[in-house]
């Protein structure tokens, strides 16, 4: 046991002290923010101020209504160009980010009314074309006289590839036309506003826990992303740690001092503590920033019990997948080989997410049960079940037991392969060979 702790200590201290760890810890959140905010900025930024649009109103009475709709269109929710996999867990962060992005996308329009004033439409077009060409104007709209009865408005722009503007203009004009048609059919303006007010669907669980499902979805999604991210980040580190003694040829000295199981376990725990330290620093930073930004009103978006489930299943997921990297590390001699071999296993995690969509709809189906017992799916699928319709305690306990037993089993397997592999230096193992080693070692 003391030797086990010596290994844990070495793995932890040697890694946490490196410049790489310090830099990664500082840069991590910056990169994450960069990945979410920068693309949004790039899409949302209108280069060079508001879009200047001239509207030629041949109907004579639609300009006001269309202009209002165009200016109001900013208030409508836009398709959000966020990167879903970088979204931090918890609805608070996600929602805040979404609003932020909406603001960024908010496009400014400078509208200008152009009347024919006795000129022909072609004359007006020619003069507007000239203004667009000279960059005095970005685009212009022509509302035909028969707009209300099916006439098609024309849009002339320097850049017709600007989908966002085109889409918004089309929607605004449709809305304006629809309203005008209603008014023309005798519906009062005031009534019209009342009638077209959108509704908001309020979902609540039967147990009276309002909004649990929504928080649950974010929780599960957050857990999946967190496991995925940390496995991607630290799987390689586990792999490297296992291979290190092979590459440096220290393995034989270690094996003359201790058994391979505590060695392997020590490595896994040591590296995992490094990962948890880093994630912990990030989480605390996130909370601290949230608190300082929103005043002191930061509240846990989920219940404490749910948070504990989240933490436990995250740990289980992390360890299961990290251990896979340990097993792979025990079979190969270089890190590059290992990375390729471990990749397919991460696909399990993605498969688990797909299965979850099914489970959300029927959380008590046999599929849901078995999926939440299968250790590679359980970290995600069991959380889905807990947040939708909490299964009986024995199922949760069984799932955790199977999961952590899998970790121990995989570590045992890894240590076995490692030891036999070490005794046959430099030899790359084939699967049948590995199987034989496991049996004979």
């Amino acid at each position: 046991m003391k030797k086990f702790f010596a290994v844990v200590k070495r793995e932890y201290v040697q890694r946490v002290r490196t410049k790489f760890f310090v830099i990664a810890t500082i840069l991590g959140p910056l990169v994450a923010v960069g990945f979410t905010v920068v693309p949004a900025l790039m899409i949302g930024l209108k280069t060079g101020g508001p879009a200047r649009i001239a509207i030629v109103d041949q109907t004579g009475n639609m300009y006001e209504r269309v202009a209002t709709e165009i200016n109001n269109s900013e208030e409508r929710p836009q398709p959000q160009p966020t990167m879903p996999n970088m979204t931090p867990p918890g609805p608070a962060g996600a929602r805040g980010r979404a609003q932020q992005t909406a603001k960024l996308v908010k496009a400014d329009y400078a509208l200008e009314r152009v009347d024919l004033d006795g000129r022909t439409l072609d004359e007006v077009k020619t003069s507007l074309d000239a203004r667009v060409a000279s960059r005095d104007l970005d685009s212009y709209l022509i509302l035909p006289p028969n707009l209300l009865t099916g006439g098609e408005p024309e849009y002339h722009a320097r850049n017709t590839a600007d989908m966002i503007t085109k889409e918004q203009l089309q929607r605004s004009i449709s809305q304006a036309v629809r309203s005008q048609r209603l008014v023309d059919n005798g519906i009062e303006e005031k009534k019209l506003n009342e009638l077209s007010k959108p509704i908001h669907l309020k979902a609540s669980g039967v147990g009276g826990e309002e909004g649990k499902g929504e928080a649950g979805f974010f929780l599960v999604f957050g857990a999946a992303m967190l496991i995925y991210m940390s496995v991607l980040l630290y799987g390689q580190v586990v792999l490297g740690a296992v291979i290190e003694e092979k590459e440096t040829r220290i393995a034989e000295i270690l094996f003359s001092s201790m058994r391979s199981f505590p060695l392997m376990m020590g490595k896994l725990i040591g590296v995992s503590l490094v990962a948890l330290t880093q994630l912990g620093i990030w989480a605390l930073t996130f909370v601290a920033v949230s608190v300082s930004v929103t005043g002191f009103s930061f509240s846990m978006p989920i219940s404490p019990l749910l948070f504990i489930y989240f933490a436990v299943f995250f740990l289980m997921g992390f360890f299961i997948y990290a251990t896979v990297y340990a097993v792979v590390g025990s079979m190969v001699t270089t890190t590059q080989e290992g990375g390729q071999l471990a990749m397919p296993v991460v696909l399990f995690l993605i498969a688990a997410l797909f299965v979850s969509f099914n489970i959300i709809r029927s959380p008590n189906s046999p599929l849901a049960f078995w999926a939440s017992m299968f250790p590679f799916f359980a970290p995600i699928t069991m959380l889905v079940r807990i947040t939708t319709e909490t299964p009986p305690a024995w199922q949760i306990i069984l799932s955790l037991t199977i999961g952590f037993a899998t970790v121990v089993g995989l570590v045992w397997l890894a240590s076995r392969i490692y030891r036999v592999g070490m005794l046959m230096y430099g030899k790359k193992a084939t699967i049948p060979e590995v199987w034989r080693w496991v049996r004979q070692a």
């Binding site: 003391k2 030797k3 010596a6 290994v7 070495r10 040697q14 490196t18 290190e244 440096t248 040829r249 220290i250 034989e252 000295i253 270690l254 094996f255 003359s256 001092s257 201790m258 058994r259 030891r419 005794l423 046959m424 230096y425």
Partner: protein, 305 residues
Amino acid sequence: MTNESKPTLVLEHVTKRYGDFTAVDDLSLQVRSGRVFGLIGPNGAGKTTTIRMIVNITVPDSGRIELFGQAMETRLQDRIGYLPEERGLYRKMKVGEQLKFFAELKDVRGKEADARVDRWLAKLQLSDWKNKRAKDLSKGMQQKVQFITSVIHEPDLLILDEPFSGLDPVSVDLMKETILEQKGSGKTIILSTHQMEIAEKLCDDICMINKSRKVFDGKLREVRRSFAQNAVALRVEGSDGSLNDPELITNVRQNGDDTEVLLTADANPQILLKRLVDANVKITKFELIEPTLHDIFVAKVKESA
């Protein structure tokens, strides 16, 4: 064979197979305490496998290993110091921390471990390198650090596999001295090396294995004597007509200044000496030739090829 000391290590009919390949075949040997035991043999003879079984990295398929009078078990590993032939250091770890880690793996910790690290670094003239990373050390220095890892816990049995490879002559002498010091303080040492001159100087007992089997073992002096041919190295001035007697002498060969005389199997070298004295030849050298370990090694390997 005297029984002045109890054996530290006993191997009885030990066999180890990997698949169809028999790495060690029915090997029996004894290593007596407080002595330097040389384990020699060509590459692939089974030395490393034998050592790995002694340090409990692998377990024999059959046969018995007894260490310090007990059957082999994990706990006994702490009393063994092992410098494998395949060895390395954590490249990015500082020398001092590294040694302390290896000490902890052998159940030596805290201040005691720190003190021993300092003592050994000073002894092998590496104190200035304590806070340097291993990768910044020369190969020879790394070798010395690796040696320290095998002795830091003051083991009763020290197993050194090619401890001299990569060392400069000064370091070789320092290493030899250190090994003899360990022996002096009552430790038992198993030395595996291809450098026969060094083995000859350091070892009390010797065991050669080839092709998974033991070829011979015993006290070094007895081994050499048992392989001695009836030969004499001579340096004489004057007539040496006495070397022409075929009854006594089978072959005469010039080796530098010496004349090497191979006597018939049952001839007594004293008779040759007497004849030379009687012939009034001036004798400056008359020495019975014992084969070197090198000669024995080469002869044995050729014999089995």
